[in-house]
Amino acid sequence: MWVAYDDRVKAAVFSALGEPNRLHIVDLLRTNSFAVGEIAETVGIRQPQVSKHLKVLAESGIVSVEPRARQRIYHLQAEPFDQIARWVDSFERLWESRLDSLAGYLQTNETEEGQS
């Protein structure tokens, strides 16, 4: 069936992305890496709030932080999204396999019904 992946990672990622401001921050970080101040300005929420959201995102592995001069630059990490993509992908493979299985069943069934 579909792939399993680490429950803690998954729960943390879903939880982190379940908040509209955090999703907005993630969306912004898809375009480039930014410092806290730049994120606050673009997203339109106060810097202390942005810092709290970034902390949650960092804890769930969605963003990483890089100290640069006196700033902290935030980058989006691909891995959590890749994991979820693999999970959803496995749902697609399941259907491929299931429809192939139907072909086998129909062939067997036709033969049996033809003989009876």
Binding site: L23, E92, R98, A103, E113
Partner: protein, 166 residues
Amino acid sequence: VISELLGKKELHFERLYAAPVDAVWRAWTEADRLRAWWGPDKTTVADCEIDLHLGGRLYVVTVASEAMGKYRGTRWPMEGTFTRIDELQRLTYDARSWTEGSEATETIHHTNDLTLTDNGETTSLTLHVAITEIGPGLKAKLAVFGMRWGYKSQLAALKKHLSGPA
């Protein structure tokens, strides 16, 4: 910009089966027949209920067999409601699939649209699955993310199956 993240993950499948349309229809709509192929490999169907009328329930529980190693015994239920039934032609149902015990994080909500075309000796099947929501109420945002991060549809298999004798 956020709205770009909203949307559905669409899966589309096409097959040509060397069987008459009523055989394919019955394989989808009669519990005893569906059990025989719903699989896939290395799984068994532990439970299957089909109440074939509008608003009726479709419930299938697939269980991992010994051959699946560390997954053995894992149960994957799917529960759906029929939203359209045109006998021998079209079947639609809204459903959710999950891993038993991890329902909160491993649930996929999906709509399913099955169309059969009677070609006499053969039957063409198209199945359209739209993933509408995943995990705890994230309306397919992550599925769309997945596409952006290198999601690849696997329609290559399609050609192979359509060109083959089913």
